[in-house]
């Protein structure tokens, strides 16, 4: 990370550190990004109207019982585990590009959803979640007398 080396070599020695805060923020931003997308976090596509959201996630090779979808406030969390088929005797892995293990991904929704009406479907390695906006959260038109 070039900014770390710059900040250590050039600015940390003196007491005047005008860029320190900026560097700290930048580092935080990058760490946050790594945390969100790194490792096993599934990739998401999101579609929406003002009252409904669809989230789809690429999650090949899972069993639906190993998938967990939850909503807390405006935060949607998709987590689970992809188990690797253990090698049998006499078997050897010649190539290993697929990733296994735990995954966890959270996204902020633009509105509160009605937890009872959330539907999730897993098909062809794609998880599809339907999230309707909660009635109480919807914008209401006020009649003017």
């Amino acid at each position: 990370m070039w900014w770390t080396s710059i900040s250590n070599a050039d600015f940390n020695g003196g007491s005047w550190q005008p860029f320190r805060e900026f560097h700290e923020q930048l580092n935080k931003l990058v760490e946050g990004t790594l945390c969100e997308y790194g490792g096993m976090a599934p990739k998401l596509n999101v579609w929406g109207t003002s009252d409904h959201i669809y989230v789809t996630a690429e999650l090949p090779g899972l069993k639906s019982e190993d998938l967990d979808v939850s909503v807390n406030g405006k935060t949607l969390t998709i987590k689970g585990v992809r188990k690797a088929e253990p090698l049998k005797e006499g078997e050897q892995r010649l190539r290993e590009e697929l990733s296994y293990g735990d995954f966890n991904r959270s996204v902020e929704l633009p509105f509160l959803v009605n937890a009872e009406s959330i539907e999730a479907e897993y098909k062809n390695g794609i998880l599809k979640i339907s999230l309707p906006r909660s009635e109480g959260d919807k914008a209401r038109k006020i009649k003017i007398k």
Binding site: Y54, E58, E97
Partner: protein
């Protein structure tokens, strides 16, 4: 014994299976390859592909795995975030003569394609029973 399965040199210039690759409409699926005494099994990740749009073929010892993802569309909804692209998966492998191409079997489940490539009889190591011969 020579290598049973090798990555086929890419003629179309398709990228390797990394995250950045997925912005293209044609991408290579990630694969695991497992070998045992009698066969080589290949597992290719192709989320969004079903048996209807999957095409697997062998021609002149080149195995091609190809599939189109089902394009998801939601009436009246506009895209807000797109981290993965929909399109076509394709990857090719060169098979050695030690693969019995007539006995290749393929299946797909939950976006993972499994191709089993049995070894030809001559390529399977056989244990030779040793007889005891008495010296007189």
């Amino acid at each position: 014994m020579n290598q049973l399965i090798k990555e086929q040199q890419n003629v179309e210039g398709c990228c390797t299976p990394t995250a950045s690759c997925r912005s293209a409409a044609l991408f290579q699926p990630a694969v695991d390859i497992v070998e045992n005494d009698g066969a080589v099994a290949l597992f290719a990740e192709m989320p969004g592909v079903s048996e209807k749009t999957l095409n697997i073929q062998v021609e002149r010892n080149v195995l091609t795995i190809e599939g189109e993802t089902e394009a998801l569309e939601f009436e009246g909804h506009r895209p807000l975030r797109r981290e993965y692209a929909e399109g076509r998966f394709r990857r090719t492998f060169k098979l050695s003569n030690d693969v019995d191409v007539d006995k290749i079997e393929a299946s797909i489940a939950d976006g993972v394609v499994k191709v089993v490539l049995p070894k030809a009889a001559r390529a399977v190591a056989r244990k030779i029973p040793v007889k005891h011969e008495s010296s007189h």
